[in-house]
Amino acid sequence: MRQNGGEFRPLTAFVHELTTTATGQFTVSNFTVMVSGQPVEIPAATVTVVGDNSSLPPPRRLLLEPLVKNIYLGQSFRVRILLPAGEGNAIEALREIQINGDILMTDKKPLSFAIQTINFNGQLKPAFICEMSVTPIMAGTAKVSAQGFTAGREFTAPISITGQVTIPGGVPQYALLLSEAVEIQVHPLPADEPPGFTGAMAKLVRETPVLSTNRLHVGEPIHLSEIFRNDGDYTHFVPPAAPRSREWQIIADKPPASGFTLIPQTDAVTNTPVIPFCAFNPQTGKYYDLTIPALPVTVIGDGLPVNLPALENENSSAAPLKLSGLATSAGKTVASLKPLQLRGWFVLVQFLPVAGFLALWQWDRRRRYWEAHPDLFRRRQARRTLRREKRTFERAIAGQDATAFLQCAMSALRIAAAPHFPAEPRALVCADVLALLDAQDKNGRVGETVRKVFEAADTQFAATIPTPTDLLALAADVAAALQKLEEKL
């Protein structure tokens, strides 16, 4: 607003601060701007810069004093904006005070106003002082400056005055004043942010939480009161947020109160929910825990009717009038409620009968084959019996039992020869066995061994039975003879 004659007129001003580097006369030429679609001519302006300005009064400036210069992101801090008294110690109020800075957020309403005596350039001078709260919203280095309009004696809020001051009368000039920029370092918060951090930055102390009652019904609200006491100079308090819980409906009190209304959804709960909360202490640069612990409660369920005296409609007449009694024993049990049809092992069990039928089929097939080929069956049986006789034969040799050796050897020779006739092995004589050997073997050592074995066996029919002491020496020859006969099976 600017006074024009006897009335105030609103003005829009774009302020640019210029600093000269040389003396002389400088002119900003006229130019045109468009205002609401209409061209408006801005006239040229001339300024003369002189070398010696001792005759001119010093320009009035604001002083900006942040109380801290190293802060954490989100940490609110106070700044003081001072306007020292002008000529004749005349004090003027400031209005529309604004803090300029890219990464700062300023509270619109100043915290306090005062007029105090300050030390300004070595002189004690009264000054108009305004305190504001500023919060950095980005980490990094911030350049902060202040601006405001002189407002004469228009004090917009209660003000405390210390010392003697002169408050001039008359119409205020509404001159825009600026301050020098001040550099502030904003540090980021540590990365290990614990759960429940809502942005609270202070040195807080949690007092013991208090429940309105600890015995309640399902759906009945109770209030959990929790007080956080500030133990530091300045606090930026954001109350804990209500966590999500299946068992509880949790409604947070309206900030800045930090209580909760809790409504149990089930009677299965025995404690109030744990409400995570923590704050950051800028002095130590660390988070600290302020979690509201669980408190024991007894929740009573709303039971359902156990009999039906009131239901009179036709459909319910078929229903029993009351619930059954408590079962005294567990009764019929199962391993699992999952049906066998959906269990993998049961499918595998179904392969057992299949395997049984397959085995039966294989057995029948083989049986029919042997019936069709009896000679092959006899040879197979002979090979099997021969293997058994050989084992007995080897045991007789190992035991130096000449009689057993003789019986085994002759039996084995007969078994190896029997399928060729075919005949019962015990019915065969030496000539039958020899007949199976080729001419060379028959007249050679193999034939001689066969003859010796049969001769020795025939001596058992003699009147005096000689002791066959040298028969065991034939073991290797008998084995060779059996090998020859087995090859023909």
Binding site: V306, A319, A327, G331, K332, T333, P339, Q350
Partner: protein
């Protein structure tokens, strides 16, 4: 502890004598289930229904039994949990379809809670005539009886007789009917019940999704598919998504 000590002694005995661990675990689990059952009965008689329900629940998890589920249903009903009670009694009927207590409790609960019975297809209804596991043994027995009656005389070189033919036909008949009942059992495993009252039935499987309607505790539904923490279910009149925790399946 008593059962545990008994079980440890028996473990040494069975191990030494070449018996399996199966008997050890069976004895141990049965003992624990009996202990929980007794705790539940005592808590129920002391009108401590949440504790009784928790004890019966543990007993049922260790060894599902008809009496345990009936008592669990009673404890949950006393707590006001109609959905959980109906589910427990349905589980009792799943184990033993002939148990009159479960049948009566279900009728009573449905009359009070104003919910319907599950709508079953014809083969599902047939599957309720016997316990679920009986059908599968019946199907297996019928099939192999028929196959055996046809095949075994040939293997053992016996003459085919009319009795064998009748036996095979009977076996096949039992097998075919059991197949449909088994299909019903498998189909019924997807049926379940709403556990919580006023359960929101949502259009999409998200917490912020539009609520189509709210479902009553104990309402029978059929599970169709799952996505994340939500199940797509069909009620008698509509379909939508509910949270998994609001749905109780009989066969689990």
């Amino acid at each position: 502890m008593k059962h545990l000590r008994f079980a440890i002694c028996d473990l040494r005995f069975f191990h030494r004598h070449g018996c399996g661990l199966a008997l050890f675990f069976a004895v141990n689990f049965a003992g624990a289930a009996e202990d929980f059952f007794a705790q539940g009965v005592a808590a129920y008689q002391a009108v401590q229904f949440p504790e009784a329900a928790a004890a019966f629940q543990k007993s049922a998890q260790t060894q599902p039994a008809v009496g345990t589920f009936i008592n669990l249903g009673l404890a949950e009903w006393q707590r006001g949990h109609a959905g959980t009670a109906i589910l427990a009694w349905e589980k009792a009927r799943w184990i033993d379809p002939f148990d009159p207590r479960a049948e009566a409790d279900l009728k009573f609960a449905r009359a009070v809670a104003q919910v319907d019975k599950p709508q079953l297809k014809w083969f599902e209804t047939a599957s309720t005539w016997l316990p679920p596991n009986a059908w599968v043994w019946l199907a297996g027995g019928g099939l192999w009886l028929a196959v055996g009656a046809l095949v075994l005389p040939r293997f053992f070189r016996r003459r085919k007789t009319g009795e064998q033919q009748w036996l095979a036909a009977l076996g096949f008949g039992v097998f075919l009917f059991s197949l449909t009942a088994n299909l019903g059992v498998v189909s019924r495993t997807n049926t379940g019940f709403i556990l919580e009252k006023n359960t929101p039935l949502r259009l999409t499987p998200t917490r912020e999704a539009e609520v189509i309607s709210t479902l009553t505790a104990g309402e029978p539904v059929r599970r169709l598919r799952a996505r994340g923490n939500y199940l797509f279910i069909r009620t008698a009149s509509e379909a939508g998504w509910v949270e998994q925790s609001a749905f109780g399946q009989v066969s689990q």
